[in-house]
């Protein structure tokens, strides 16, 4: 008869395998839901196995925690799809909170005789955990618009932020050398909390996809550090998987925004905005009515719709679905071209369009769709701007030069639904709007698409 501990360890081993399978199944929409089930089973096994742990003498607090957590978790799982980015940021904060609290308890249970190596790992766990906690709360606040979305910058900001972080790391290093100085522990708890806030202050709305991914990575790494402290291989594996996932997504997002990691965190796009705002000439654009737009779309063979965050803000995705239906019924081939940063977190736009019942095989990412624009009759841009700016390909002096864009300007006709001629997030004028083949459709995205749908429905068919 194997001991309880061995049984628990075997259960953890199975759970770890299920976690890896869970992520593997996420690779395709056809198997992805199996991934969720595998993850759930792994979690259930791991929690059940942990409850067998012989060190546990009192189950009351555990029960209270599990029940309360479920009560909070259910509404967080039921939020509207547009609110998924802030929900995700909030859950990074909760994950980091859990790790920080456990790390803090572990320290005080062992103090003052904490081995140096453990002190080093504990410091990492607590520093990463607390900065992720406040940073994620700030990000959630900005996304929910409790806090101002625009970046707040001041002179010497990077120096201030880096010094704050340096203090935390310095004190942690001192604690590793002198673990008996327990009075210093609150410093490596409190200072990173402050750093988390300062880190997000200069971040604007358009940078959120990168920042959320980065916080995801930190949350994973802090959990892995906790695994080292508790000597839990399962936690190390889960943390490493989460950390790797966040890291890959951050790199993807940075590439899509044409910026380096450090540039997102320390660059403060806001300063560039001020620099390019002046000296804009007023150039002529061609505009069209919903009737004209509907006629052109109905005559097309192939249409690519390029949605941006403006479409989600206008809540126009269901009208866009009606447009998709109306055009598909007429035999028009309609696809969607999705830029990696077309939302507030990686992949957000796909979720919003899937929610509106647009089949996922019509949602193509940037690399897949770019080759198709030269054969496209109409590219319809809804609420996107900078990600379609051809200056990113051609104009070396443009702040977004080099950023990967959707080549909508290669389509035969381009239509852009936009409220007015204002510039995008980056504050950069878009030469696309002044091309001869471009028609500007001025109006609210939801209203304008609705008008086009009505025109299409009113015709033959």
């Amino acid at each position: 008869m194997p001991s309880t501990n061995t049984i628990i360890e075997i259960i953890y081993l199975v759970a770890a395998a299920l976690f890896i399978l869970s992520l593997k199944w996420m690779s395709s929409p056809t198997t992805a839901r199996h991934g969720v089930w595998a993850g759930e089973l792994g979690m259930l096994l791991a929690v059940g196995g942990t409850l067998l742990h012989h060190g546990i003498v009192d189950y009351r607090w555990i029960a209270i925690g599990l029940v309360l957590g479920t009560i909070i978790g259910v509404p967080l799982g039921m939020v509207h799809m547009t609110a998924v980015p802030q929900r995700t940021a909030l859950s990074h904060a909760f994950g980091a909170l859990c790790v920080t609290l456990v790390g803090t308890s572990e320290f005080y249970l062992r103090a003052p005789n904490v081995p140096r190596l453990m002190m080093a790992v504990l410091s990492m766990e607590v520093i990463l955990g607390s900065l992720t906690f406040t940073g994620s709360l700030m990000a959630a606040g900005k996304l929910e618009e409790f806090l101002p979305q625009r970046p707040i910058t001041y002179k010497g900001q990077n120096l201030v932020n880096l010094s704050v972080l340096a203090v935390a790391i310095g004190v942690a290093a001192y604690l590793v050398a002198h673990p008996e100085r327990t009075g210093l522990f609150p410093v490596i708890l409190g200072v990173p909390l402050l750093f988390g806030v300062l880190m997000i202050v200069p971040i604007g709305g358009a940078d959120m996809p990168t920042v959320i991914s980065l916080l995801n990575s930190y949350a994973g790494l802090s959990a892995a550090a906790m695994g080292f402290v508790l000597d839990s291989k399962l936690l190390i594996i889960a943390g490493a998987l989460d950390g790797a996932s966040g890291f890959i997504l951050s790199v993807n997002m940075s590439k899509a925004m044409n910026r380096s990691f450090s540039n997102v965190l320390f660059g403060a796009f806001g300063q560039e905005q001020a620099a390019v705002a002046g000296g804009k000439e007023t150039r002529a654009v061609r505009s069209a009515t919903p009737e004209e737009a509907a006629a052109i779309l109905a005559a097309a063979n192939k249409v690519v719709i390029v949605p941006g965050y403006g479409m989600a803000v206008a809540q126009a995705q269901h009208k866009v679905r009606e447009l998709y239906d109306a055009l598909t019924k007429r035999g028009v081939d309609v696809k969607f071209g999705i830029h990696p940063v077309a939302g507030r977190m990686p992949g957000h736009m796909n979720v919003l369009l899937a929610e509106a019942d647009i089949p996922y095989d019509k949602l193509l990412d940037m690399d897949e769709i770019n080759g198709e624009f030269p054969q496209t009759d109409v590219a319809l841009v809804i609420g996107a701007n900078d990600v379609t700016n051809p200056a990113a390909r051609t104009d070396h002096s443009s702040p977004i030069y080099g950023m990967p864009i959707l080549d909508v300007d290669k389509a035969r006709t381009v239509m852009v639904i936009k409220r007015g001629m204002s510039a995008g997030f980056a504050g950069i004028d878009n030469p696309l709007f002044y091309l001869d083949k471009t028609l500007m459709l001025f109006g609210d995205a939801k209203g304008f698409v609705g008008d086009i749908v009505r025109e299409l429905g009113g015709g033959h068919g």
Binding site: S22, L23, M26, S27, P29, A32, G39, T50, L51, G55, I56, D58, W61, I62, G65, L66, G69, T70, G73, V74, L76, G77, V84, R87, S91, F94, G95, L97, C98, V99, L101, V102, T104, Y108, L109, M118, S213, N216, F228, L230, D231, L234, I237, A238, D242, A244, S245, I248, I338, G343, M345, P346, G347, N350, V351, E355, D357, P359, D361, L363
Partner: protein, 98 residues
């Protein structure tokens, strides 16, 4: 912990490599559900919190452990729930293979 540190580092390194390889293959289509799923899996930290709250060594540890259970459990429940809700919405225009 000291003796096992190297083993733990091996585990971390291998898991990170598996993570990179597996997640690189996830379609950008599913990056949002991917993040909510990894978030739920990451909340496995709840096992540490459960032991902390259940061992009842000191009042402070029990309280912090309980709060940690609440935070992690809400991630587990909310994370799996929303991931599944999102994935249910992804439908193909082609008829499903039997």
């Amino acid at each position: 912990m000291t003796g096992d540190l190297l083993t733990s580092l091996y585990v971390f390194m291998l898991a990170a490599f598996i993570g990179f390889e597996v997640i690189r293959r996830v379609s950008p289509l599913l990056h949002t559900p991917l993040m909510s799923l990894t978030n739920a899996l990451d909340a496995i930290a709840v096992v540490g919190a459960i032991i902390l709250a259940g061992e009842h060594k000191r009042t402070l540890a029990t309280i912090l452990g309980t709060v940690a259970i609440v935070a992690a459990t809400s991630n587990v429940v909310g994370g799996f729930l929303i991931t599944d809700r999102m994935l249910k919405m992804f439908k193909s225009s082609r008829p499903q293979k039997p």
